[in-house]
């Protein structure tokens, strides 16, 4: 058994200090140069926006899924709530970027907090089940509350408001400028979450994943921390949703369906969210590459992505990041965190 034992996030101990690691550098550099290399490799600007938005969603989701080990299968709902909140704010209150984003985050925080209050005393499969049920309720309401959400069609014609920073005002109507905005938000979210994951709160979240009972007996209010993690990750999903509504210029119930919630789980897992902070990023990129590249060759790309996922769960459920970790260990390049600590001690 010990040989087959899986790697987890906690296997790669926090190094502490600054988040300016090599991986973060590569990631930020890729973000900053995307408008130039995306067309060069035959892709298009809008894809960059889409991927960046899903990366925000996936990183926030992995705080819950990978770090604290709570398996939400209804997370698309909070993305959807954010998207609708953004759209309704533009259409009913005022055309404002900041207002819309605040509304998106606030609405999904409230929705997440409410659901978290119902489910935070649970774990395992029952937790997953309750998240599905709540996710379906949000999805159902989005379809049926026609007068507010526009039913199956959703909200159409949501404007892309200008970015106002004091006296400066920038139009985000074209995809390149919207990309820059989304990329900056993503960069900030990634830096923030990286710090959080390796700070005490992140370590305690991981402790709860490993042993909820022990965590409560050494003095942690497990219910409250689970509540915080769910609510925070719903809030980040809401932010992604607000940006999504802006990018799509619409908000529709599809993103809240079980399918979409399942897809985010698949992306995070395939990438290796259970093993590495960077796992979700690999997974999202892999998914969109599969969609656009395999999708360009055959219409059944989802079939191939699904098969790849099934095989991945069978042979290496730690995902892509797990594969990379194993290769690095084999060739003796694994992060030497433990060695440095021994010296310090």
């Amino acid at each position: 058994m010990s040989d087959a034992k899986m790697i987890t996030l906690s296997d790669i101990p926090a190094k502490g200090g600054s988040p300016l690691t090599l991986a973060m550098g590569v990631f930020l550099a890729a973000l900053a140069t995307a408008p130039w290399w995306l067309p060069a490799v035959g892709l298009y600007q809008y894809l960059g926006i889409e991927v960046a938005i899903w990366l925000i969603f996936a990183l926030g989701f992995n705080l819950l899924f990978g770090y604290i080990g709570l398996h939400s299968f209804g997370h698309g709902a909070y993305l959807g709530v954010g998207a609708y909140a953004f759209g309704l704010f533009q259409q009913e209150v005022a055309v404002s970027l900041w207002g819309g984003l605040v509304a998106a985050i606030a609405a999904s925080l409230v929705a997440g907090a409410l659901v978290a209050s119902f489910i935070s005393h649970r774990r395992g499969i029952y937790y997953a089940l309750m998240t599905i049920a709540f996710g379906q309720i949000f999805w159902f309401c989005a379809i049926k509350l026609h007068s507010i959400t526009g039913g199956e069609d959703g909200l159409l014609g949501i404007p892309r408001p200008d970015l106002n920073l004091g006296p400066i005002s920038v139009s985000l109507a074209d995809n390149t400028s919207l990309y820059w905005f989304v990329a900056v938000v993503l960069g900030l979210v990634a830096l923030g979450l990286w710090r959080l994951a390796n700070a005490p709160l992140g370590r305690v979240c991981q402790a709860i994943r490993q042993n909820e009972m022990r965590a409560s007996f050494v003095g942690y209010n497990v219910w409250w921390i689970k509540w915080i993690a769910f609510t925070a990750s719903a809030g980040i999903a809401g932010l992604a949703g607000g940006l999504f509504a802006m990018a799509q210029e619409s908000a529709y119930p599809d993103v809240m369906a079980l399918h979409q919630s399942g897809l985010i789980v698949m992306m995070v897992l395939v990438g290796g969210g259970l093993v590495s902070f960077w796992g979700p990023i690999l997974g999202v990129i892999l998914y969109f590459v599969a969609r656009d590249v395999i999708g360009g060759i055959t219409e059944t790309w989802l079939l191939w992505f699904g098969l790849m996922f099934v095989i991945m769960v069978m042979v290496r459920p730690e995902g892509l990041a797990g594969v990379i970790h194993v290769i690095r260990t084999r060739i003796g390049m694994a992060p030497a965190a433990r060695a440095t600590h021994t010296k310090e001690a």
């Binding site: 010990s2 296997d11 190094k15 709160l201 490993q210 009972m213 050494v218």
Partner: protein, 247 residues
Amino acid sequence: MALFEAKNLRKRFGARVVLENISLSVEEGSVHGIMGPNGAGKTTCFHVLTGHHAPDGGTITFDGQDITGKKPYQIARMGISRSFQIMNLFDDTVVIENVILALPEFRDSGLNPVKDVFGNKALVDKALSVLDQVGLSHRAWEKAEALPYGERRALEIAVALAPEPRIVFLDEPTSGLGTEATQALAKLIQELRSRYTIVLIEHDMRFLFQLADRISVIHWGQVVTENTPAKLQENKWVARSALGEVA
């Protein structure tokens, strides 16, 4: 006044009464043993005393405060700590993090979202000194899961000691240990008794009699008798039923 006191505790699961009437009184600085046959309700008793289960009746007081029905984390924060019979560790992470997580300094800043964990020298040193007490400091940076059984038992105790509790509940610490390891553990508890108040559930009677100041014998969910080890050895019933098994 006793540091920790339980009065007339009752606990049932469905129709099954597990604790009928348990009263305990633990003096500060003493080692209090709990013994009894399998299924007598010893572990349930621990679970009730440390807040894992709320009792159906009776009261628990600690240092003059009523703690009946409080949650485990609240009880832990008051300075009551426990180990588990079935190992309960943070298995995916390194030994030292198991201890750091239990340090009050860490816990009280525990939700700080930006602070460093392993970069904090004071925390790491403190955790190492706790590990030193149980002889595990050389294993600090190894994965908890990878330790051999005996050392995992020691880590179980280290995690219980890390918060510098005023009272420690140890649930069958010798369970699964060989004679040598049991003797080492007895030595460790002898060292600890000067600093902590200890409540000990034990199967191994020799171990318990050599360490405890007072022992409560639990049977059928009740405290049958409570006395010093010397007095208990004179008690024919105890001698026959419990010590007889060991000898």
